[in-house]
Symmetry: C2
Subunit: 213 residues, 2 copies
DNA sequence: GGATGTGAAAATCTTCACAGCT
DNA sequence: AGCTGTGAAGATTTTCACATCC
């Protein structure tokens, strides 16, 4: 299959969210134009994105909401459960754990780790904070493929290397540091500083046309 | 000036971070190649990005670290203080407030708002949680140009409209909802569900070459 | 009639490659 | 010799526009 652009995958997630809404409301079909308006893009973009994976619509009618929802779940790999370990028992990890959508979409937290003796063994939501020393062996045992990295940047790369060594194949990092992973590992980085500085730049340079994001 | 791509601005932030490191270490100059390796990009990309704003390097030598740091701060609009209001006194807002880099880079939190009576009036870090009812008037008085939106998605758009009405010109949203803003307002959205689903997609479709992010 | 699916065109972003300065 | 700055080439992504089908 042709390589799918990251921007396309992000939009698929968005389509899914709104299709679920429509499905809940009992709407039977949705046109590319309706979806586009909901998701802040264009109808051509919606059709193109979906066309990479098949022909889900009916000409003259639009897309069947319930079916397309299922297709998108399948495409995004959300029909199964993903085990996730959270590294760093701080605020960010807690925010993630609190987030309902997290579990709803099949991401199950199988462990929370920290190296702070004051946190280890303490309750954290419904779980207990484990010692980072056990991280690698636990990941191997659980075969958790996804890790969320929510620690200060200083030793982020070292922890990443440990995670990968233990078999993690996808990492969502909130550490404000450049991280390198081998080709078989996926990495997404969220860096609040970069986002804020982007806003600072936009304000400073008063760019017109910022519009939707 | 030509429109600057969002991807360029993001890289500028990254360059700045590593230049500050080098500057702290006392390094005098850095080549585009060195910066590229630190930041996970290519030397041509570094030179191109910088070239949009001027000629900061010396041929044969590289870029003067300290000077370029100052230039990038200037370009990104970080030489001044930005007042920021945080909407939603939950975990995400707390994570942001905790984040040292936040203040270091000139973002000053001037207020935290929530509509939960159990939170209003309670301490929150060094601040006190204010009533959302006061949001608009406070923003007008303080003239805070930036808002961080860290609330559930249900009423996100309504709050955004209120913020914009009160004069906010840049919004960093963590609400997992599509938000629309007029052209004169900048919006960045961070959506953890989208990031995780992107990882799920990558794992499911076992794309080769994920590499650095 | 109405909306999809899709090649082709346009726009955008990245990489190349080399002239030109230090 | 070494490294920047940049026009041109290449790659990628988005938009257009229309034939095709319900």
């Amino acid at each position: 299959m042709k390589r799918i652009a990251d921007s396309t995958v992000r939009r698929l997630s968005t389509y899914l969210r709104y299709l679920e809404d429509l499905d809940t409301k009992g709407q039977q079909t949705a046109s590319s134009d309706e979806l586009a308006h909901l998701c802040g893009t264009t109808s051509a973009q919606v059709r193109k994105d979906l066309s990479f994976f098949g022909s889900f619509g009916k000409r003259g009618l639009g897309y069947p909401v319930h079916e397309l929802t299922a297709h998108l779940r399948e495409i995004l790999g959300l029909e199964r459960e993903w085990k996730v370990v959270i590294v760093g028992a701080g605020k960010i990890g807690a925010a993630l754990a609190n987030y309902r959508g997290f579990r709803q979409r099949g991401f199950r937290i199988v462990g929370v780790y920290d190296n702070d003796p004051n946190k280890i063994g303490k309750p954290w939501g419904e779980a207990i904070v484990h010692d980072m020393a056990d991280l690698a062996s636990d990941i191997r045992r659980e075969e958790a493929p996804i890790a969320v990295l929510a620690i200060p940047s200083d030793d982020a790369q070292a922890v990443v290397n440990e995670l990968i060594g233990a078999g993690v194949r996808a990492i969502l990092s909130f550490a404000p540091a450049q991280i390198t992973v081998p080709p078989h590992v996926s990495l997404k980085s969220v860096n609040m500083a970069i986002e804020l500085e982007g806003l600072s730049f936009a304000l400073t340079n008063a760019l017109p046309s910022q519009g939707v994001a």
